[in-house]
Amino acid sequence: MHLSRFAHDLSRATVGPATRALMGRVLDFMATGTEDEAAFDALALALFAHQLAHNAAFQRFCQQRGKSLRTVRSWRDVPAVPINVFKALSLHSEPPLGPEAGHRVFMTSGTTGAVRGSHHHPSLAVYDASMVQGFERFFMQGRERLPMAILFPTEQALPHSSLAHYLALALREFGGAGSAYFVNAQGLDVSGVCAFLQHAQAQGEPVAVLGASYSFVHLMDALAAQGRSFALPPGSRLLDTGGFKGQSREREPQAFYDDLRATFGIALRDCINMYGMTELSTQMYDAGNTTQPACKRGPHWLRTRVVDPLSGADMPAGEPGVLVHCDLANVNAACTILTEDLGVQVPGGFALLGRVQGSQAKGCSLALDDFLQAARA
């Protein structure tokens, strides 16, 4: 991959000198491929210092948490910004400019009535470099290009969707001849996807199908209604992401991947789930879904901790907690994010856990979730 291209993108970006220098350091760090903790630490602390100095909202957050340059000594000390705080605040180190200056804003998909968070990118050079290198390593796995069927709207249709940008980048950088989008204003183009898959099957050439997890559910429902299934050529793979978000039936992961295998004739190890979020600039992947829960990991510029949600302290190994990601590619907003995802450390990475059920207190007092549900109804 031509990493120099991203350095070139950066050279043309409308950003201040401090941000430019730091983005340059991050690009260099990505290129080194080092797992060295000291180097990661140094860059994380440089990002923290930069964000503390230039990012007014982050500064207020750190003040409230009693975090300063003096108390933050390693990447583990950098205060993690909870998703709910990220949503409420406008976190940026660079003054926000419009798209004409090459700035981009990705927004979280919000449920009705909820505040949508926004992630401001003064330049996508680092985001794109992170995406391309992660995708190449964890999804392409040595292949240069694959014909791609994208089950998601285009970047033009959804300019504030980080996933739309991600998929557009995947298609541009790694898509082979015949790659196409199969979601348009009318919805999912089932016959178009069928023709794409039929063609691949006839040619014996591997392909990739990428999209939101719920798009796969809709597609499989439509195919099942027609009684159709495929046996895609070896080397083909699927990428799903984002879960179901109330857009389709909720599925248990095991059942979902079994259905994918049955419908597309693709081995479970080639059904890859990407785990990302608008608040980050780097994605994580599993190495297929042969077993559940699948182990996820990211590239060396992202580190994940499993913490107690209230205290933020590391959980003992093997105990579930909430995931915190320190993503060095998050130069502008905040490099460390406290997610709402439950997970557990496993050898080689972490595993996402579904909702923990059964053990919590359950009374007849109205809970927050029910209240929001009732308010929406």
């Binding site: 909202a57 207020r60 957050f61 409230q64 909870p82 998703i83 709910n84 705080v85 990220f86 949503k87 409420a88 605040l89 107690d308 949600p309 209230l310 205290s311 933020g312 579930p320 907690g321 909430v322 406290l338 709402e340 439950l342 909702r355 923990v356 059920q357 059964g358 053990s359 919590q360 207190a361 359950k362 009374g363 007849c364 007092s365 109205l366 809970a367 927050l368 029910d370 209240f371 549900q373 009732a374 308010a375």
Partner: protein
């Protein structure tokens, strides 16, 4: 036939036992049914889990027994009273074991549980039950037979042949309200236990079977996983009246399975709050009110529908609403030593953290919101300058104090949520109390009490504004014309020719 080892029967078990048999089915059924073992805080609990066909057989049995084995109301009350006194007896080994298991399975503070359960059980003693009946029906004898009416004719209160109870949650003992109501109206009772707290209702049923085998023939207390459509349909289609507790989605699903003509009484999750007027905010009184408020927050860890989630506090008193918030925080801190908060599971800690982060985000974004105290505290008071849209707390000792110019200013924010409101604890002078109560009634509130009593409803309260017994029965009238017509057919009748 099931080969699952069922363990020691609950009514004979002691705190040392690890495998117990709970639930209750009339004699003759226990051996026939499928049993399922559930783990509950280290305790293995075997519960009768009948198949759909077995449920139908049970329902038929219970219905027919209710018809033939009728006790008088006085006898029924005496039997319940006897069981309640056994449960209230601190020396009773079953009660001691129950205390132990409840503390383990719910994680609630053992002392708080023991006291809470005692106060609760006292509601079901004979005098309270008699009052309970009079409260709803006026004349208790209506449940035993036809009673003359002043206008002429007679009336009878006929309970349902089969009353189906669906219980939910883990507030200990909550099912007793509906179970006792079912017994008083002489229904055949088929009940589904809550997964999280099956013990209190099971023990009550088993002790009742010892006290009155006859009464207990018309009772079955079983379990199946919620959402099991085949079982739920089998039970619901048999019932004359359904009494269901639960969250919106489970109530919705149950209602959909219930025949249109069956009376479906739903008790959904509710939101309760406190209101503190300026009159209560002088240096002496603020301390007492804050103490009482903290107790209502701590009891049952805000899991009850009557537990306060927020307090509206009026401005203009000697102490400000922010002072009240600080007092409340101090009282919660003191109570956290006396009654420590139970250990929270990671999902619950996450819910608290998310709620806190949302407050933090709002505060950082400039909203008039203040989080008092530290993230490590086992409670959290958030102070907000209102009026603001109604917001529940995250439970488990999290509470919002909303400052309002006057308590009347909070009312407009309540209107849109009228179907969710239940109890309001009020600290105000008499005239303000009457005025406020009228307005709260229009907002959908159904219970007004003192702060400190919110979690201790009186026996015979109108749960969610409904009648406990009157809603279950069907009034049957013999009109005067029937009497006259019968008179004309009597052998001793002399035809006025």
């Amino acid at each position: 036939m099931s080969s699952v080892p069922r363990g020691v029967p609950l009514e004979q078990a002691s705190a040392h036992d690890t495998h117990i048999e709970a639930g209750y089915v009339p004699s003759g059924f226990a051996g026939e049914l499928a049993w399922q073992v559930r783990e509950l805080g280290g305790l293995q609990v075997a519960l009768p889990a009948p198949t759909p066909a077995q449920l139908q057989a049970l329902a038929q049995h219970v219905r027919s027994q209710a018809d033939t084995a009728r006790l008088s109301l006085a006898q029924t009350i005496a039997q319940i009273d006897q069981v309640v006194h056994r449960l209230l007896d601190a020396h009773n080994p079953q009660r001691q074991a129950l205390n132990h298991w409840l503390a383990r399975s719910t994680g609630l503070d053992a002392e708080l549980l023991r006291l809470g359960l005692n106060r609760y059980l006292q509601c079901f003693r004979a005098p309270q039950l008699q009052r309970f009946v009079v409260e709803d029906l006026g004349n208790p004898a209506l449940l035993d037979g036809f009673e003359p009416r002043a206008k002429g004719g007679l009336s009878l209160a006929q309970g349902p042949g089969l009353l189906m109870h669906v219980w939910a949650g883990n507030v200990p003992g909550l099912p007793l309200w509906s179970l006792v109501a079912g017994l008083l109206v002489k229904a055949g009772n088929l009940a589904k236990l809550p997964s999280a707290e099956p013990l209190v209702a099971s023990l009550f049923a088993r002790l009742l079977a010892q006290a009155s085998p006859q009464l207990a023939q018309a009772l079955a207390v079983v379990w199946w996983p919620g959402g099991d459509v085949a079982r739920e349909e089998a039970a619901l289609t048999q019932a004359d009246v359904v009494l269901a507790y639960g969250g919106p989605s489970s109530l919705h699903a149950l209602r959909a399975l219930t025949p249109l003509t069956t009376r479906f009484l739903a008790f959904g999750h509710k939101l309760s709050f406190g209101m503190v007027d300026a009159a209560a905010l002088d240096q002496r009184r603020v301390h007492e009110v804050a103490r009482a408020a903290a107790l209502d927050v701590v009891r049952f860890e805000q899991q009850g529908c009557y537990s306060p989630q927020l307090f509206y506090v009026a401005s203009g008193g000697a102490c400000s609403p922010l002072d009240f918030a600080h007092h409340l925080q101090q009282q919660l801190r003191a109570l956290s030593v006396q009654y420590p908060r139970r250990a929270l599971y990671v999902a619950e800690r996450q819910a608290l953290a998310q709620w806190r982060a949302a407050q933090e985000g709002a505060a950082l974004a400039g909203a008039p919101v203040q989080i008092l105290g530290d993230v490590q505290d086992p409670f959290c008071v958030v102070y907000a300058q209102g009026p603001e849209p109604l917001q529940p707390s995250a439970l488990n000792r999290t509470v919002r104090v909303v400052a309002v110019p006057t308590l009347g200013d909070a009312l407009a924010t309540l209107q849109p949520h009228r179907h969710l409101l239940q109890t309001v604890g009020v600290a105000a002078a008499p005239q303000a109390l009457w005025r406020l109560s009228q307005a709260l009634a229009r907002c959908g509130v159904t219970r007004i009490c003192a702060i400190g009593s919110m979690t201790l409803p009186e026996a015979g309260w109108h749960h969610d504004g409904r009648f406990n017994l009157a809603d279950l029965v069907q009034m049957v009238d013999i009109e005067l014309s029937a009497e006259h017509a019968a008179d004309s057919l009597a052998p001793y009748h002399i035809n006025p020719a």
